[in-house]
């Protein structure tokens, strides 16, 4: 299970403020905590910096990689020039977040994939928007896999995100995204599925609780990468435990190690936690 730590995202007010005042200490601390909690990539999203986005991305990528040995980043921006700056500043291979099937986005991002050879997140949306039904989103995912594979990207470097909608507005939204994960998995063995799953709980109370349960459901449908808050200890414990129960943890080693390190001693489920 590939964990992408989601916390360095400029849509979060404290992060945006820290970016605006170039508070390297605060941001490196955010990065370090997530890295030490078991992230494989740290997402860096600078979108809300707008005109100041590009230098911010370059600064932050360099800063985090200098501060934390071996840290790898997911370069996350709606602006292809910012993606380029982030990939350029990044040592070794980054994760590019993201390409879509929108014509313009493909034209802008595919050259970056050629040049920097990152791993790539592919979102199942195109010029017609974000289709609600599973077959259409699967078809977009399939098209993106073909575009990327056609450009020489190994299947193992492709992470398709089925884009989950809030169940508060559409009762079927959680199940539909699970169905797409499974379908992608069956049709394209070797390709990864990834999910920023917290959207599923939008508009509901106790969002963390919903996200934690949905994570386990997604595991059973083959999700093998996730964009989450790695400081959510119950989420992380659920992933470790779920993998063991699905036979993805040889000798239960991951589970037992987590147990000995105290990573399974998490707070009781949701009592009093109204975040």
């Amino acid at each position: 299970m590939l964990i992408v730590g989601e916390r360095i995202n400029s849509t979060r007010a404290p992060i945006q403020a820290a970016m605006a005042r170039r508070d390297g200490e605060f941001l490196v601390n955010e990065a370090r905590r997530q890295w030490e909690a078991g992230s494989h990539y740290l997402d860096v999203n600078t979108a809300t910096m707008l005109d100041a986005e590009l230098p911010c991305m370059r600064w932050l990528v360099t800063l985090i990689q200098e501060a934390i040995a071996g840290a790898r980043l997911a370069i996350d921006s709606p602006d292809a020039r910012v993606l380029e700056a982030g990939l350029e500043a990044h040592r070794e291979r980054a994760l590019l977040n993201s390409i879509t099937a929108e014509r313009k986005r493909i034209d802008e991002v595919l050259p970056l994939v050629h040049e920097f050879r990152p791993q790539v997140i592919a979102l199942t949306m195109d010029d017609d928007g974000l289709p609600r039904d599973a077959d259409k989103r699967f078809a977009i995912g399939a098209r993106l896999i073909e575009v990327l594979a056609g450009a020489g990207v190994p299947l193992d470097d492709i992470f398709v995100d089925p884009l989950v909608f809030p169940v508060s507005a559409e009762p079927d939204a959680g199940r539909i995204a699970l169905d797409i994960m499974q379908k992608l998995r069956d049709a394209y063995p070797g390709v990864h599925t990834i999910c920023g799953l917290s959207n599923v709980s939008y508009g509901m109370p106790l969002r963390k609780h919903i996200n934690q349960v949905y994570m386990v459901m997604a595991l059973t449908r083959g999700l093998d990468a996730v964009i989450v808050d790695p400081l959510d200890q119950r989420m992380m414990a659920n992933i470790v435990t779920g993998r063991m129960l699905l036979g993805q943890d040889a000798g239960c080693k991951g589970y037992l190690t987590a147990y000995r390190e105290g990573r399974l001693d998490v707070e009781p489920a949701v009592v009093g936690n109204r975040a």
Partner: protein
């Protein structure tokens, strides 16, 4: 005697079958449609809005109540046409702006506005400024309601306001804006008329603007 308080409660609880049956009963008994709206359906959505603001109600409950209200209103529609007391309090053109595909908030606002007596022209998602301008020309609304859920797309709200100005239509409509990344300061900055941080608030302000309070 028709129990409008009971109808109101069914709408609040999102019990569509019961609410529709009571509405039909009220119509059959000769209850005036405007009494059904003003003493049951609108007050029900008012209460739903209050509960949402107090975080006692969540989006699925608001949607259920709103659909129940719509089902009752649908029955009454043939009568509304002939009843001047039931003319909409105003007309709203609503959409999410260019690049934004998040429509949960916009849909909630539309439902609350409908529940407050407005007629709605919902342009859907991802609407370029030209489309909003064309809709204002065609429908002559009182209010244009714009939604954006991304810091990157909220910038396109300004383009809509500018397009309305360029088309000479800005003075004919109120522009209301909302969405997670916005605040009242941003609304002022782009010369929108008002901002609300939730759907019930948007409906309440809209009623004030058209003098329906």
């Amino acid at each position: 005697m028709i129990d409008l308080a009971q109808l109101r409660q069914h709408v609040i609880d999102g019990e569509q079958d019961e609410a529709v049956a009571l509405t039909r009963g009220a119509m059959d008994a000769g209850c005036p449609p405007d009494a059904i709206f003003k003493r049951a359906l609108f007050p029900a959505m008012d209460e739903v809005g209050r509960r949402m603001q107090r975080q006692e109600y969540f989006i699925p409950e608001v949607l259920l109540a709103a659909r129940t209200m719509q089902a009752c209103a649908e029955l009454l529609r043939p009568l509304i046409v002939t009843d001047p007391a039931l003319r909409p309090v105003g007309k709203v053109v609503a959409c999410t702006v260019s690049g934004d595909l998040h429509d949960v908030g916009k849909n909630l606002v539309c439902l609350m506005l409908e529940g407050a007596g407005f007629s709605i022209v919902d342009l859907g998602n991802n609407c370029p400024p030209e489309q909003v301008v064309a809709a204002v020309r065609e429908h002559a609304p009182d209010i244009v309601a714009l939604s954006a859920m991304l810091t990157t797309t909220m910038l396109n709200m300004r383009r809509v306001v500018e397009a309305l100005e360029a088309a000479g239509l800005r003075d004919r409509v109120f522009v209301m804006v909302g969405g997670a990344p916005l605040d009242a300061g941003y609304a002022r900055e782009i010369h929108a008329d008002f901002y609300s941080d939730d759907a019930p608030g948007a409906a309440a302000r809209a009623r004030q603007l058209v003098g329906a309070v």
